[in-house]
Amino acid sequence: MKKSNYLFFVVLTLLVTLGCQRDDICAESIETTPLLIIRFYDFEDPNELKDPQNLSVRTTDSTDFVINTGGGTPIEYYRYSRDSVAIPLKTTTDLTEYVFTLNTAEDDSTATNSGLRDTISFTYGRQEEYINRACAYKISYVGLKVDVDGGANGSNWIQDIQIEEANVEDQNQAHVSIFF
């Protein structure tokens, strides 16, 4: 009787101390800090999507191109020719400046000396939102503003840029339209 009582304690203590803890992993299905979605349209026919040819996207302070890891295989925005891009905005400052290079030459691995280059400045406010313990916090961007600068003569290839969604809270629709 006494002996079996002690056994209970040993078994119970072991079970309790060996008890495993569930890992807290941020699931991909959870909405975290949204990417900025830009779609490209034909300036002559504003309802028609248009693929920019050999578009490269990088920030003004980097020679690395944006890599979209969202949908399965990562896509690097270097000589990219589809009608939309999803790019991150800085979470640490209220300004992110991107260089969009159209017609990037094959031998121009940094997209700095070929094609038509326009710099787009995105300015916004940032709001921190708690998600959960696995994903911690996200940033929602509010009051998005854009400005295109192509140097001395205005813009080089972007004819018009419009904000579709000034508050970037999710990735359900395009936030910015570029006409060229």
């Binding site: 009787m1 309790v16 921190e128 313990r133």
Partner: protein
């Protein structure tokens, strides 16, 4: 968590079959006196965990009072400091709690033994503070590198309450000295959490879960019975 309960059910079954055998063999007319009194003690698992786990420190006193046959009024009082660490967030919770309720001893003792297999209910209340030490702004893109922020904002005056059921055993190892083990299932009733944040751990409740109000815990305590009077078992 379910592992604990299945093992407890096993323990209960073994205990009950043992009890049945004992009953059959003690068909005599001798009356045994049972002690009534207050039992006080400390939880042993919490100081042990304080030593072993860098992210935890805690202390708890336990007590119960036998007021009628197999019914005990019971309470626990404790303090806990819990650090919650995951890949993207780190918090520190510091506070105290009280749990009050009762136990029912379902075990029929043999001779003058005073062991127990018991079920208990508790109402728990905690008051605490929570410090958000470090967190990450989670992004699906690593183009700009991770944005990890140190904050150290402490939110004080947080409270939480919960209901708890427990199941456990108590064994008298030497005269009037008891070892006790139990497992607890808790359900949060109410809490106030910091603005734009959540309580990741609650003293007395333990860590919380994002998707449910439930929590689990265990206790392992040593306690001493101060007998007030004896009463014959009928």
């Amino acid at each position: 968590m379910y592992r604990y309960f299945s093992s407890l059910i096993f323990i209960l079954l073994v205990g009950l079959s043992a009890a049945a055998q004992q009953q059959a063999s003690t068909q005599d007319t001798v009356k045994y006196n049972e002690k009534y009194g207050i039992r006080v003690g400390i939880d042993l698992s919490k100081p042990l965990r304080t030593l072993l786990d860098d992210n935890y420190s805690g202390f708890q006193v336990v007590g119960d009072y036998r007021f009628y046959k197999n019914f005990y009024a019971a309470a626990e009082l404790g303090v806990e400091k819990i650090t919650f660490e995951s890949d993207n967030i780190e918090t520190f919770t510091n506070g105290s709690y009280i749990k009050v309720g009762g136990d029912y001893n379902a075990y029929e003792n043999w001779l003058d033994m005073q062991n127990a297999i018991f079920v208990g209910v508790r109402y728990g209340f905690a008051t605490f503070s929570q410090t958000l030490d470090q967190y990450r702004i989670y992004t699906s893109s690593d183009y700009f590198g991770p944005d990890i922020r140190e904050d150290n904002t402490e939110t004080t005056g947080l409270t939480a309450s919960w209901a708890e059921v427990m199941i456990g055993i108590k064994v008298e190892v030497i005269k009037n000295l008891f070892l006790s083990a139990n497992v607890q299932l808790k359900r949060r009733i109410g809490q106030n959490s910091p603005t734009n944040f959540d309580n990741l751990a609650i003293p007395g409740f333990g860590r919380t879960y994002d998707s449910s109000e439930f929590g689990a815990g265990f206790g392992y305590s040593i306690s001493y019975l101060i007998p007030f009077y004896k009463k014959a078992r009928n």
